[in-house]
């Protein structure tokens, strides 16, 4: 469960203060499927980065699974990120020199998980995301949809509480995008929390709870 209280984030751009987020209050329950929509510059990516502990708010407090994570050190944040959060990016962000299976393995390697334990988990992930035949391929030998499936498998490898996806279909054609989205939605169907940032209303509409943002503030929160 995620609880944001009075979160604000200001950037300095060319000596001028830009309020990316102005006092955002948000509660996301466990197992929710949330989409964040809004025009570019509305602060939706900043919000996602703060939820994902990649960025720190200038004000406000953040509780993740009933634990205040606002004051944690960088290393502690890295640990929480590793265990509870899975990221899916618009540009996949796969390491180009590593094969699909090595990319999926990365979070487990960073967590120091025993290779004997990694093996069955990898096999399960490859099977779950239909990547068994592409396991030994490098990203440049994979299609966009396959790349994003590798990225989703990687995000799921540590069994996170929440999956954060930033424009996950933004770099894919319509058909592949739909396919990737349905793969992502399996997270929600399996009881996980899924947050998707998008500016595509059609994709945003598929979520069970839809957030609208404008100028760094939440202007619409629509569930049902």
């Amino acid at each position: 469960m995620i609880r944001l209280t009075g979160i604000a984030r200001t950037f300095l751009v060319g000596g001028e203060e830009v309020h990316a987020l102005r006092t955002v209050d948000l509660e996301i329950a466990h197992g929710e499927y949330l989409s964040i929509m809004g025009p570019s510059g509305s602060g939706k990516s900043t919000l996602l980065n703060i939820i994902g502990l990649l960025d720190r708010p200038d004000a406000g407090s953040y509780e993740l699974d009933r634990k205040n994570v606002t004051a944690l050190s960088d290393d502690e944040l890295a640990r929480v990120r590793r265990e509870k959060i899975g990221f899916v990016f618009q540009f996949f962000h796969l390491v180009p020199r590593l094969t699909a299976v090595q990319n999926i393995e990365l979070p487990m390697i960073l967590a120091g998980i025993d290779p004997a334990e990694r093996k069955p988990r990898l096999a399960r992930l490859l099977a779950e995301y239909g990547l068994e035949e592409r396991a030994g391929h490098r990203p440049d030998q994979l299609s966009g949809g396959q790349c994003q499936r590798v990225a989703i498998a990687r995000a799921m490898s540590m069994g996170p509480t929440v999956i954060l996806a930033d424009e996950p279909t933004g770099n894919l054609d319509r058909h592949t995008g739909q396919e990737v989205l349905s793969v992502l939605e399996r997270v929600h169907q399996n009881g996980g929390t899924l947050v998707i940032v998008t500016h595509d209303p059609e994709i945003g509409a598929r979520a069970t709870r839809r957030l609208r943002m404008l100028d760094g503030a939440v202007v619409g929160d629509d569930s049902g």
Binding site: L54, D55, A78, R81, R82, H93, P115, M158
Partner: protein, 402 residues
């Protein structure tokens, strides 16, 4: 992160950019190889000099007439220096010392050695039978000067191998007569070819009994007295004895110079060691250059791999893990470069040995340890800044750019 995973991750990076990896290995390798080869050359020269001194004879003490010091004291008072010559009687008096095993007085001059129509100008040494043992000479044929009272002499001589071949060609020289100045000597021995030793080419000398040389060159004074101490520990005692005995004989004046082989050897040893260290540290500069190359490449890598570093952070990598990944990469490069350098250095050493078999080229153990260690140290030192930069990278910014 496990060590095996860390190594594997760094290995993947290195394998991913082959030419970059090879270039750094080359730079590191050259640095290490240079240090190894240069120290091998220096150490070889040092061992060569030591062995040459050893070939002179062991526990050697050399006595020279005259004393090298500044004379003349107060202005207006002239104190002349009258170097007393060193005589055979001085030498014979040395028998009193218990620290001395044997000694050989030495007179040197240039003589015209003739047989039949052939003639050759060679250095002529006048000495006694002890010379052979003191200077570890070897005979090819015949015998050395006969022992006996050095005040009397027989008309015999021992000639160097080159003198023999020049004067007699392929004819046997043993038992033949040669004429030196206005005296005749029978050849009783021929020296084995030994080459240079402390200023003389033993292949080109003629050795005659001391008394004969005294008559030949019309002199009583000795050129040197060569002394062999009973043991290495006795060298100091022998030196003191020599100085004391000769001082008493010379009415209390210290007018000789006593050189011990140890002192000369120690001086050469120090000089050559210092030289080796100096050139080795110059070679080590190339290691520093290799280190700077590593830093440069790592800084480029931090820029090139921004997205990857950002991603690793998003996946939960701590700053320490990112730093460690960079250090592992640098260490692998340094290790590989050091290994390649050691191999190349060893190769260069064996080539040098092939070219100059007389010189025992051998890199000292400290160089074999110090060169790779320096490579490793520079690699780590020069990776500090890039690794820090990578660890501090803001993941949001690193990921946002395409």
């Amino acid at each position: 992160m496990r060590l095996a995973d860390l190594l594997n991750f760094a290995w993947q990076v290195l394998r991913g950019s082959v030419s970059r990896t090879l270039l750094i290995l080359l730079a590191m390798g050259i640095g290490v190889a240079a240090v190894v080869m240069v120290t091998a050359l220096g150490e070889g020269a040092r061992l060569y000099v030591a062995s040459q001194f050893g070939a002179l004879g062991t526990n050697l003490i050399i006595v020279l007439p005259g004393r090298s010091e500044t004379s003349g004291a107060m202005p207006g008072v002239l104190i002349g220096k009258t170097p007393r010559s060193l005589t055979l009687e001085d030498a014979l008096a040395l028998k009193r010392s218990h620290a001395i095993r044997r000694f050989a007085p030495l007179i040197i001059g240039a003589g015209d050695v003739r047989t039949g129509a052939r003639s050759r100008e060679t250095p002529v040494l006048g000495s006694t039978s002890e010379l052979m043992d003191i200077r570890s000479m070897e005979l090819a044929q015949g015998v050395f000067l006969p022992p006996g009272d050095p005040r009397h002499s027989q008309p015999v001589c021992v000639i160097g191998s080159k003198v023999a071949s020049e004067l007699f060609g392929s004819r046997p020289a043993l038992g033949e007569w040669v004429r030196i100045g206005d005296r005749r000597f029978r050849v009783i021995g021929i020296l084995a070819p030994q080459g240079q030793s402390l200023g003389f080419n033993t292949n080109e000398i003629v050795i005659v009994p001391l008394a004969a040389a005294q008559a030949l060159f019309n002199t009583e004074s000795l050129f040197r007295i060569l002394i062999e101490a009973k043991s290495r520990e006795q060298i100091v005692a022998a030196q003191a004895d020599v100085e004391e005995i000769v001082r008493l004989r010379h009415e209390g004046e210290r007018d000789i110079t006593v050189i011990t082989q140890d002192a000369v050897l120690a001086t050469f040893d120090r000089i050559l060691r210092a030289l080796t260290l100096t050139v080795a540290s110059i070679a080590a500069i190339s290691l520093a250059v290799a280190g700077i190359l590593i830093m440069n490449v790592m800084l480029i890598a931090v820029t090139q791999r921004r997205r990857e570093i950002g991603l690793l952070k998003a996946l939960g990598a701590t700053g320490a893990q990112i730093r460690l990944a960079f250090f592992t990469e640098a260490m692998l490069l340094a290790l590989g470069g050091a290994a390649a350098g050691l191999v190349v250095g060893e190769l260069g050493r064996s080539i040098a040995v092939q070219l100059f078999p007389a010189i025992p080229f051998q890199a000292p153990w400290w160089a074999l340890v110090a060169a790779p260690a320096t490579a490793m140290l520079t690699a780590v030192l020069f990776t500090l800044a890039p690794a820090r930069r990578a660890a501090r990278l803001d993941p949001v910014q690193a990921l946002s750019r395409r």
